[in-house]
């Protein structure tokens, strides 16, 4: 809470030129209570809520209503939304669910290979006109419409309104010819510099972002997404290019759609018993690419890293480790530490200030200068731990040593990544934080990850897959991370921080990056904490609902 106060105070100082130590500061800091146009509205709402809301033990008989609660509500970081812990549980919060649904139901299927099949094997011409025709057809088939055969059962469109196919490419000329309704427009969605990088990386490839209905992913699993897509894409080719369904060449469409496609999650070992496109297989760099803050707020690298942290927390910590791997209800309280109450925010922005003042900007510290990297890491880590020591309310908010370990190490790791522009240096700083944290306080986290956290210095630069991999392509299934609850958030933020600091338009994969810039997605990946907050406020409208087929 004091961390929140600190950031509050900082905001006040900048906005109203008050001293942050002035305890009787006169403003509500978000929106400036005095000046805000919404003041009247806020007052009115607050009056209503004060009367209506169900505060435990609310006692109205004593003159002033009196409530009791174990701690303050959580503030979703960099928003003004407050919520309870159970509002942030992934089973309660439909926005968190939709973030995962939107990832799982995505499969990227290149059109270059099928177009070659059509042209070289079947001798038909592919033109922008035929592509538009195909896209119209595939936007009928992927949501569950039938073509080709008669008497086919179809999916009720009201269940699959969220399903569609869009394309994108680095080839501006080609994209100009495509019906804009079916395009994820890199030029419009990204700042110019990022757009250029992305288009260069993607080249002439024409990529489809296929979004199967949320309900399909939910009824089956992530692995079915490529199958659903492959079947419906093949049908769309047959129909739009007037092919004979029995031809051997048709198999090539299905083959390329199933096997030359890009899933969001890689295959995991059989012992995990999950298909591809499941959260345990999503590399950290991919999830960092899905987080879109730096596209919309390109001048705020801190926010970009913190949003990636938040996405990592909900997808990996809460849903994957908390749900898939552990089961039960346990992990919410722990995971939310990384994206609530502006505490990590405070540490990260402190780190950014330090990097700028010491080195004159990002990526100016030589990653080979181990001693200076360690000095920076040690300083940021000490700052984070000092905040817990100086503000008892922050210590109580992150009352578990594991929470403090994660948040301090995340700040230190993000600092190392931003200062050097190398994610692995950030990771190395994460482990430095862990060792120095244990040494300073005489305590760290719990059995579950203390070992991994204390031995990671040695593998932080390992590139061979059985030892490490670069941070961008490590994932939650990397052996030492397979049960590192609450850490996945930080692991996602570190590669993001490195590449944002470099001014890169993407972290690991330009195709993934563009696919999640798509405004037609149900979840807004540029405003992760805000979306989670909207879920908590019952303002978020998810997809995949079955009410259309249930008697109301």
């Amino acid at each position: 809470m004091a961390g929140k106060e600190k950031l509050f105070m900082e905001a006040c100082k900048k906005k109203f030129k008050e001293e942050p130590t002035d305890v009787s500061t006169k403003y509500y800091c978000f929106g400036g209570w005095k000046q805000s146009k919404s003041k009247v509205e806020f007052q009115k709402t607050a009056d209503e809520i004060a009367k209506k809301r169900g505060i435990p033990m609310l006692n109205e008989d004593i003159g002033v209503p009196l409530g009791q609660r174990s701690w303050m509500p959580y503030q979703l970081s960099h928003t003004d939304i407050y919520a309870e812990a159970d509002d942030l549980h992934c089973v309660n919060n439909c926005a968190i669910q939709q973030a995962w649904d939107d990832i799982r139901r995505t499969i990227l299927v290149g059109l270059d290979s099928p177009h070659q099949t059509i042209e070289r094997r079947l001798g038909k011409e592919v033109t922008p006109e035929t592509i538009n025709n195909y896209l119209e057809t595939v936007n009928h088939t992927v949501p569950g419409g039938a073509v080709v055969q008669e008497h086919m059962a179809e999916i009720n469109p009201a269940l699959a309104w969220d399903s569609y196919v869009k394309v994108y490419s680095g080839d501006d000329e080609l994209i100009d010819e495509i019906d804009p309704r079916f395009v994820i427009d890199i030029n419009k969605l990204f700042p110019a510099e990022q757009a250029e990088q992305l288009k260069k990386a993607i080249g002439k490839t024409l990529m489809q972002a296929v979004r199967v209905p949320t309900i399909v992913g939910r009824l089956m699993d992530g692995a079915t997404v490529s199958r659903h897509a492959a079947m419906q894409i093949s049908m769309a080719f047959i129909s739009s290019y007037k092919l004979a369904a029995g031809e051997a060449a048709i198999a090539d469409f299905a083959y390329s759609a199933k096997h030359q496609s890009l899933g969001m999650g890689t295959m995991m070992p059989a012992r995990r018993a999950r298909g591809p496109n499941e959260p345990g297989g999503i590399p950290f760099g991919y999830l960092a690419d899905m987080a879109q803050s730096d596209r919309v707020y390109p001048d705020d690298p801190g926010r970009a890293s913190l949003e990636a942290v938040a996405l990592g927390a909900i997808i990996y910590d809460q849903i994957y480790l908390g749900g898939y791997m552990s089961g039960g209800v346990g992990f919410t309280q722990y995971a939310t530490a990384a994206y609530t109450d502006n505490i990590l925010e405070d540490y990260v922005y402190y780190a950014i200030d330090q990097i700028k003042s010491r080195y004159g900007g990002f990526c100016k510290l030589d990653p080979a200068n181990t001693d200076e990297v360690m000095k920076l890491g040690d300083d940021i880590n000490a700052y984070a731990l000092e905040m817990y020591e100086r503000y008892p309310a922050v210590m109580e908010t992150h009352f578990g040593g594991s929470q403090r370990a994660t948040v301090s190490a995340a700040a230190t790791g993000i600092a190392g990544a931003m200062a050097t522009g190398v994610a692995d240096v950030g990771l190395n700083c994460w482990y430095l934080s862990m060792l120095q944290h244990k040494e300073r306080t005489g305590r760290l986290g719990f059995y579950g990850f203390d070992l991994q956290d204390q031995c990671g210095s040695a593998n932080s630069f390992a590139y061979r897959s059985d030892e490490g991999l670069p941070m961008e392509v490590r994932g939650p299934n990397y052996p030492n991370y397979a049960m590192n609850v609450g850490h996945m958030s930080g692991y996602t933020g570190i590669p993001k921080a490195a590449h944002v600091a470099r001014g890169d338009a993407f972290t690991a994969n330009p195709f993934v990056r563009v696919a999640f810039a798509d405004p037609s997605l149900v979840f807004d990946f540029a405003n992760v904490t805000k979306e989670i907050g909207r879920g908590a406020l019952r303002e978020f409208q998810p997809a995949g609902e079955r009410s259309a087929v249930i008697k109301g």
Binding site: T25, K34, I49, L66, Q68, M72, D87, P392, A393
Partner: protein, 125 residues
């Protein structure tokens, strides 16, 4: 928001609350702190009464309140229309705290509570 330097006994909490009653324009007070269960909630002693001396009934303005927390914070919601009355109320609250909270406190003015209902509030609907 008043954050105390120490977690307060039930007696001190009672004193603070009764003293705050004299401050006008308070819409609502929320107490925060560490939960004290009524019964032992896990382990071999599960189900036994906890008999925590600070989980008890206090009297606030003549009414009984069962205190369930070792209180470490008071979230006082003020209903004021101008800066002057806000300042005045804050000064009065400070005076109350100085008189009742022995080990010190910090006081911040801001928005610290939910101002829109969340899923949690609809649970019992």
């Amino acid at each position: 928001m008043i954050i105390t330097n120490r977690l307060l006994s039930a007696d001190t909490t009672e004193k603070v609350l009764n003293a705050l009653e004299s401050v006008p324009n308070i819409r609502q007070i929320n107490l925060t702190g560490e939960s004290i269960p009524k019964t032992i909630n896990s382990g071999p002693g599960k189900g036994l009464p906890n008999n925590h001396s600070e989980h008890k009934v206090i009297r606030v303005k003549g009414k009984d309140i069962e205190l369930r927390y070792l209180v470490g914070g008071f979230l006082v919601e003020l209903e004021v229309d101008d800066e002057e009355s806000l300042d005045a109320r804050v000064e009065e609250i400070k005076a109350v705290c100085n008189a009742t909270i022995e080990h010190g406190y910090s006081l911040q003015v801001g928005r610290y509570s939910k101002y829109k209902p969340t899923l949690h509030d609809y649970r019992s609907e």
